[in-house]
Symmetry: C4
Subunit: 370 residues, 4 copies
Amino acid sequence: MTDIQIGGAKRARRAYSFDEVAIAPSRRTRDPQEVSTTWTIDAYRFALPFIAAPMDSIVSPTSAQTLNDLGMLAALNLEGLWGRYADPSALLEEIKQLPEINVTSRMQEIYAAAPVDPDLVTHRVMQMKQAGVTVAVSVSPQRTADLAPRAATAGADIILIRGTTVSAEHVSGAGEPLNLKEFIHQLDVPVIVGGCATYQAALHLMRTGAAGVLVGFGGGSSMTTSDVLGVRVPMASAVADVAAARRDYLDESGGRYVHVVADGSMGQSGDIVRAFACGADAAMLGSVLARATDAPGGGAHWGAEAWHGQLPRGQRNVLTQVGTFAEVLNGPSTHAAGAMNIAGALRKAMATTGYSDLKEFQRVEMVVTA
Amino acid sequence: MTDIQIGGAKRARRAYSFDEVAIAPSRRTRDPQEVSTTWTIDAYRFALPFIAAPMDSIVSPTSAQTLNDLGMLAALNLEGLWGRYADPSALLEEIKQLPEINVTSRMQEIYAAAPVDPDLVTHRVMQMKQAGVTVAVSVSPQRTADLAPRAATAGADIILIRGTTVSAEHVSGAGEPLNLKEFIHQLDVPVIVGGCATYQAALHLMRTGAAGVLVGFGGGSSMTTSDVLGVRVPMASAVADVAAARRDYLDESGGRYVHVVADGSMGQSGDIVRAFACGADAAMLGSVLARATDAPGGGAHWGAEAWHGQLPRGQRNVLTQVGTFAEVLNGPSTHAAGAMNIAGALRKAMATTGYSDLKEFQRVEMVVTA
Amino acid sequence: MTDIQIGGAKRARRAYSFDEVAIAPSRRTRDPQEVSTTWTIDAYRFALPFIAAPMDSIVSPTSAQTLNDLGMLAALNLEGLWGRYADPSALLEEIKQLPEINVTSRMQEIYAAAPVDPDLVTHRVMQMKQAGVTVAVSVSPQRTADLAPRAATAGADIILIRGTTVSAEHVSGAGEPLNLKEFIHQLDVPVIVGGCATYQAALHLMRTGAAGVLVGFGGGSSMTTSDVLGVRVPMASAVADVAAARRDYLDESGGRYVHVVADGSMGQSGDIVRAFACGADAAMLGSVLARATDAPGGGAHWGAEAWHGQLPRGQRNVLTQVGTFAEVLNGPSTHAAGAMNIAGALRKAMATTGYSDLKEFQRVEMVVTA
Amino acid sequence: MTDIQIGGAKRARRAYSFDEVAIAPSRRTRDPQEVSTTWTIDAYRFALPFIAAPMDSIVSPTSAQTLNDLGMLAALNLEGLWGRYADPSALLEEIKQLPEINVTSRMQEIYAAAPVDPDLVTHRVMQMKQAGVTVAVSVSPQRTADLAPRAATAGADIILIRGTTVSAEHVSGAGEPLNLKEFIHQLDVPVIVGGCATYQAALHLMRTGAAGVLVGFGGGSSMTTSDVLGVRVPMASAVADVAAARRDYLDESGGRYVHVVADGSMGQSGDIVRAFACGADAAMLGSVLARATDAPGGGAHWGAEAWHGQLPRGQRNVLTQVGTFAEVLNGPSTHAAGAMNIAGALRKAMATTGYSDLKEFQRVEMVVTA
């Protein structure tokens, strides 16, 4: 990134969003059928390199199974409605219908009314496990020490520790903070941790023993972190920087490959393509999946930031539904703007530029546009 | 183009669109009557340096003749409605009237219902030939081996091989891929091939023996390739890069001049002017012609991407009709925003900057704007 | 301006518009009363450094007198309605009322119906002269040889030769083109000539003996030259470049100071301030004056480009009227967005940055913004 | 800032607004409870580093007390309604209700109808003093010599001298201009002076003995200084430049730390965060506070520029009210876009990036975005 002087002694790097970059086909092309999008992390192999984001509008125990059957991983938020209510269906319906004017305060009420129930957490993991799902669950850094071991014991296959920002070095005056490195070492399951957005932050997270790191602050259209906190790292640059940390850590560790998972700002299949082009190994999907007719949100879409009690930093968006999860992922598409057949779009983009797998595709030529 | 570090090890070049550049008049002017816009490719000479894009909304056997009479080339898409239906008039009318909500899926049905009919392909070429038209037809790379020889045999004068991206080196596991170089050598007619968008891709296409290359991915307002595939190369930079390949190939080949045809993103006459200023020899026109009252689409406009069965990447746009093909091309204009008298606009731009032919005009001074 | 590679061998300079720059107050301020905005060209001295643009919506024989009384120059277009019709009042009213749909074609008819009448041209000049006005008139390059001497003989004080682009070296096959240098030498009155937009073009115009050059292509909101011709030179850069030509010509000529008149893209008083900051000696005003209740257009605004018979490149805009010419120029303002008291705004800007006259103010510190 | 050639000999620096920058979390995080936002200037210490802007829509004697109780400073404009009218409540209500069409002219009347009353000025200061408020009052440069000593005598604790631009070197032909250095020396209370926007201007203001300088031209959404005067210095660059002047003056003066107060363009909590990140010690708040239900403007918001008699440069905006001053400052928030719990947002931003106090936070890593 270009180094810029904002003024006086303050310098900053110019960072680029997915909107500002594109891939450029060049002298070779390939048949889309010759292209592989498989993704392997730890012992798990998926036909599609996507993770459904741990948001109540996307991942329920039921939809996790559907998405798993379609070849991808889905992460249930253990601190969401499914970790608080035995049957949240009526609440999901209510949130979808809430008028704009009081949606934030009513969501704050709904989530505050029922605390996270440890037994329910155990139950959710077992429920998915019994259905044959590769179980991924997500916890916040604050609840990790409490909930993650419980989920592991109940049979979770992959655990995500996900917050706006997660660092390897958290300073706290209130008791001993979580030592990520020790904690991950003791857990028996692979951990994916984030968000982070810089080379340094990612490198430190990689050193904790995580199997993957989440790049970004977990949201695009539905988040207002920039408005509220002044925090923003445009995703194309963030992914490329963290990919550089992956390369350097691979060398430093003598061969441990930590997966880079782009998380946020990918509202159209073209953005997902750009994430891989910048160096991502997998993409965490939000709004793209929320548009499915079988998503639990019924077209509404929100993240955990939207119901924060003191400082909400996200909104409930109501999206146009375009087709089933199967159609959104594998088509056929009847929608011209990148909302359907996103796996097909990724394959076509790889074919158009002549690459046969995702690792090679990270080398694709790119341009920066206005 | 400026080399930019997106982040980590990922670098990209800054590429410019037609919107970001303009021509700058300087110390000489000229009478518009002193200016020539003739274009000669192979044995064919045209008063206007334009090709009507092979889109069903623009080129029918009838409109090809009208456009030919007005001094320009028009390319019929052999895989479009005229290659599938004996009389597609009712379908053209239906597409124009389709409500936004199901336009994509209905177009998919219409084109899927009738496969391309080889006899009809032969008939279309002969029909135009008999009318005295300089016959240009377009085929996709997938159907080239099958349809192009048939069209040549029937009398086609110029053949376009046109896809989102066409490369000289296509990798396919399903049988032997088309060897463009051999194929073009065997065909007896000049071939124009594309799209491409980089120096390298263009140079390799030039080496196949093509008479011309198409620069761009074939569409502006009606295409969503960037949204769906993440693919975009802004046209001003793409045309200038391919013009550099033309110059280098001219030297390498000992004098073969391959024509650079800008294809896409030229919705106003000012964009067409910029394409020539960046180095184009000819411009393939889409929406500008779709606004003609005698265009087959009747104001509606769409490309082959819009009815792709699995991954549609274009939309049907309904445009305001402004006048006949004759008025759109040669005026007089009654429209202030670059939709009419586009040949007059090109002549005026050349006159205003003091150039007398299109080859010289490629040297015109330009500025980059916000 | 920064040199940029668009692609291949095509290079261009980055040029800036008034929107992209601003003036930056620094360590000195001054009382607005201490500031002078007087402008002197040839033998003429004006309280305000403005010229009313030769547009029928702004300058009539009557409004020229009003503007003159307010301390500024106003240029009557001899080829406009007042040079074609003895009493065009009804036509001005009709143009104002025309529906958007046929405004261009009806304006083409109105101007085509009556050719420019040489006797009327003489009459207009004498009419203004008798009223005590400092008479400025404008002619196109095409009609200069015919109309300019006639206007001079009738008593015009200043003559403008104004076209989209005027060069010192016009190439024409149809008879001998106008030799500007000889022509200006023979005319007995000072000539202001343009538009131009580059250092080279301006330098050559200065060498013809012109008293001033017009920078720009004569319009902002009401022109579509960029859409139609692909021609655009952002004004901040154009004015700064031509100011450099003024400095170099001053040296080359041994002391002839040619005035730089910014012409176009100044829709708010802040833009006018920026024009002077970039090096202008005077500003030609269009839409700012068209908002006056006593402007002949009655709130409608258009230039000669709007009624061009073959290739119209401008629109009739209907603007909100804000007050009389006196209030627009000298206030008091009751409008917060730079449409009133523009002379007061210029004085305040100069005072805020500590400068006492316009020549000094050309050195003011500026910033480039997003 | 990057040095850019606009054209010819005119150069300018690229300056950045708060919209174009963001903070980037990196490898350390911290508990929000561990973070301090206290601000100390002269003998005064505040829990929150904010000053309520001297605007009638925000600061009345009553609201000053409320804001003081919440831990921040509030500055009463002695030349506003409260310095002109014994009871302006009805006028505040009227301004809120005024239709857009004549709001500027009616506000001009209201403020012109009653001149500033020196006795009322004294009364306002004493009224607040008696209520136990840390009294801050604001005067314009024009009225400073007259009103500031009067306010100091009446008990004001901090005096702001605030104008669009205030310089240490004002040139005036009408009598002796105010010698800021002598004046501040003689006043017994700390003075905060501005606006200014450049290193040089700020350095000279610091040398007058001011305790703080205001950076910016006093307004964001409600001001039109750029439109009217062509004056703009984007805030991120301005704050960073003035912070550099603070550092250099600290050295030059042998240890006098002059506070940098960002003033304007901070409409969301994220902008406030960015101001501190660029180097501000405190932030002067306008529209953020005008959205409080207990603000005197009742949701309407305007500054002194809006009622300037000759050249108004601001507008009355009507904003959506979101909660009480207490909720706006300290939450809980029920609004996702940075309008509530702004102190909490600042603390969260500091915690997310691992900083424990505002001075340290000035070193936070930043990025420049599109």
